[in-house]
Amino acid sequence: MEAIILQVLNGLDKGSAYALIALGLTLIFGTLGVVNFAHGALFMLGAFCAVTFSRLIQVSHTVIDETQKDFLGNPLKVDVPYIYDFFGQAAGDVMIDWAVPLSILMAIPVMIGIGVLMERGLIKHFYKRPHADQILVTFGLAIVLQEIIKYFYGANPIPTPAPDALVGSFDFGVMLGFDPGGIVYPYWRLVYFLFAAIVIAAVFAFLQFTTFGMVVRAGMADRETVTLLGIDIDKRFTIMFGLAAAVAGLAGVMYTPINSPNYHMGMDFLVLSFVVVVVGGMGSLPGAVLAGFLLGIIEAFASMPEVLNVLPGINQIIIYLVAIVVLLTRPRGLMGRKGVMED
């Protein structure tokens, strides 16, 4: 029982990441009709916003400490962050400790900026071009973005820990009446799940309750009519792109304490996020979220030793197997609409 609850939690947690990335992807994919292979790169850029932020607030000046030696026997150079000078050591340490959550403040404007820049500078010119051209240009862009990150940050993963208060895990089971130690779950993963839930809810609320959102939803359903109504759909598409980039970026920021970010993490998630979007159904936001959680949970269960003993290797293929079964039984994924990206 504990094992099952734990795997559901794991599934929800994996699912949150899938759902967040897929949500942004399907906003672009389903509304703008653009196959965006650079979406994984946006996720990666978000993660590196966190890395950059925590480096920025640790920008230091060097003090030579004659009492200590480095590995070659020279006097040791000690770095003192400027932030100590500004806020004092105690406040500075707190800020460095909370760098990841704080970097959300930086990531939102940066990611929206990148998204808008991408759309205005590049994607805009590709709305009318064939999907093949969109694939080529966004794939090229994804490579360029990740190579730039590699140039500055290297290829190795960069540890970006959660704040000390949120490190460690939480005995969930005791609350539910299980034995202590039965269901222990890391704080940060719970934070991630809650965060994802909030972002997803915010995106849905935005689309549901604002005029802007209504127009966009109308545009998803029938783009031509909306254009005929004299609404400047282009401008809205730009904003949508910025929004999608921000969602992907935030997913990346908060993901850094779970797994150390590296420059190709976007590519690792790219294929999976396409699978999630398509299983959810093209043009359906709830579909993307549902598929994200569904695939997350199924993946978690497939990696249980009990399952693997019966079906060795099922963990290798389960996501793809589920995708095939879903697409064969439901022609347009779980909640897809007719005619979106079907030709």
């Binding site: 051209d133 490579i143 360029v144 190579e147 294929v271 398509v278 290798q316 197997l321 095939i324 990206m341």
Partner: protein
């Protein structure tokens, strides 16, 4: 010299008036294109080695057997992919699986039957064809992005299984290689410790003939020529398919499936046939890879490998005859040549400059070569698709058009076109 399908079927009125077929049943432009490609392929050892050995530019020479083989083999792969994607518009994102399955089949044929490459290539084609029949039969129930994801799913499952659970059959991480103690029922046993080598009735694939002209060294490699002949055959066949009723049906599938259905034609068998044909092309490419270099690793089925052939085709010009081959050459050249340029090489190039200046140049160029070759590749993808929407072929056409405009009225145009 290169033409797009859209006006490819483009049959001029006079040609339909029972003009007798030209080269192997090809007419006019098609025949010239085939001849041109044949000349380029057969003279590749010269064309790809324009710089003398030992010179600073020798770095850019691509006329060594391995790369030449890769050019033509991935050319075959892309030509086959183009039959599916360029004609029917169905974007398969899992074609590398057929290449991989073909390779595994090929190496097992060399392990179990004989080191001769002919049976091995045939086995590759057949097995890849059967596998693509199964995958295609299932995946073609859906269209558009749903089809792409189904093929992707099959390919990723193939990769994941080959890398892990199927290790006894595929060798997993370390891949499959030939051993002297493999059974090989059609060949005599090899002496202990010898290295088994793929051959064509005794002619080993690695055999090379070297020709030195002054400082130039040209390598004529048996394996390359066998692969090149396969490529020419594959290219010829693809022209025939493009021009055939079958090819027209495939373009009709891309254009309007609804009308096709109401014209009494079932699109599915046509797309399935195209899928299987392109799967067999992939199998041929896989078989040739094994014949040239007797080793298979599961990575060649990873999704990035499937993505690569998509990029090759689009980069060269999807739906054009020669585009995919150009795209394949372009990407493989970047991968194999640009990635080997290191700092020392750069310093060599800019050595003629004053110290400070050469450092500046090295610093500017360095991020784009060697370990930064991916960056250059990404930038070039974007540049091509932004400036040449029809791919490299369109670039060629633009150049040709410029050339023609310059010469117009001189009469040279006609001569050049003949």
């Amino acid at each position: 010299m290169t033409d797009q399908t859209s006006n490819a079927g483009a049959v001029r009125p006079q040609t339909s008036k029972a003009e007798k077929s030209g080269l192997f049943g090809l007419r006019g432009k098609d025949a010239s294109l085939l001849i041109l490609v044949a000349i380029l392929t057969l003279c590749a050892p010269f064309i790809l080695n324009p710089f003398p050995e030992g010179s600073a530019m020798a770095q850019f020479n691509a006329g060594y057997p391995d790369l030449m083989q890769r050019f033509v083999i991935f050319g075959i792969f892309a030509i086959g992919f183009n039959i599916l994607f360029g004609l029917t518009g169905y974007l398969s994102f899992g074609h590398a699986a057929f290449l991989g399955v073909g390779s595994y089949a090929g190496i097992w044929s060399m392990k179990l039957l004989t080191l001769n490459v002919i049976p091995s290539i045939l086995v590759s084609i057949v097995v890849a064809g059967l596998f693509s029949l199964i995958v295609g039969w299932i995946s073609l129930r859906r269209s558009g992005i749903y089809f792409s994801i189904l093929t992707l799913a099959f390919a990723m499952m193939s990769f994941a299984l080959a890398y892990s659970v199927l290790t006894p059959i595929t060798g997993g991480e370390t891949g499959l290689q030939l051993k002297y103690f493999d059974p090989r029922i059609l060949d005599g046993a090899l002496a202990e410790g010898t290295t088994p080598r793929a051959n064509l009735f005794g002619l080993e694939m690695g055999t090379s003939y070297e020709l030195a002209v002054g400082n130039w060294l040209f390598t004529f490699n048996a394996g390359y020529y066998i692969a090149a002949i396969c490529m020419l055959a594959a290219f010829y066949l693809s022209i025939r398919i493009f021009r055939s009723p079958f090819g027209m049906m495939l373009r009709a599938v891309k254009s309007n499936q609804q009308r096709l259905n109401y014209t009494g034609i079932s699109p599915k068998p046509y797309t399935l046939a195209a899928f299987v044909i392109s799967g067999m092309y992939a199998g041929l490419a896989g078989g040739l890879l094994v014949a040239m270099d007797t080793q298979v690793g599961a990575e060649r089925m990873f999704w990035t490998a499937s993505g690569e052939v998509v990029l090759m085709t689009i980069l060269g010009g999807a739906g054009t005859l020669i585009g995919p081959v150009l795209g394949a050459g372009f990407i493989k050249y970047m991968e194999n040549i640009v990635s080997t340029i290191n700092k020392t090489t750069l310093e060599g190039w800019f050595a003629f400059m004053p110290d400070g200046l050469s450092d500046v140049f090295v610093t500017i160029v360095y991020p784009f070569v060697g370990k930064g070759w991916h960056l250059t590749l990404g930038l070039l993808f974007m540049a091509v698709v932004i400036f040449l929407p029809g791919g490299l072929v369109q670039g060629g056409q633009k150049l040709a058009a410029m050339f023609r405009r310059d010469k117009s009225g001189t009469g040279a145009t006609k001569a050049a076109k003949e």
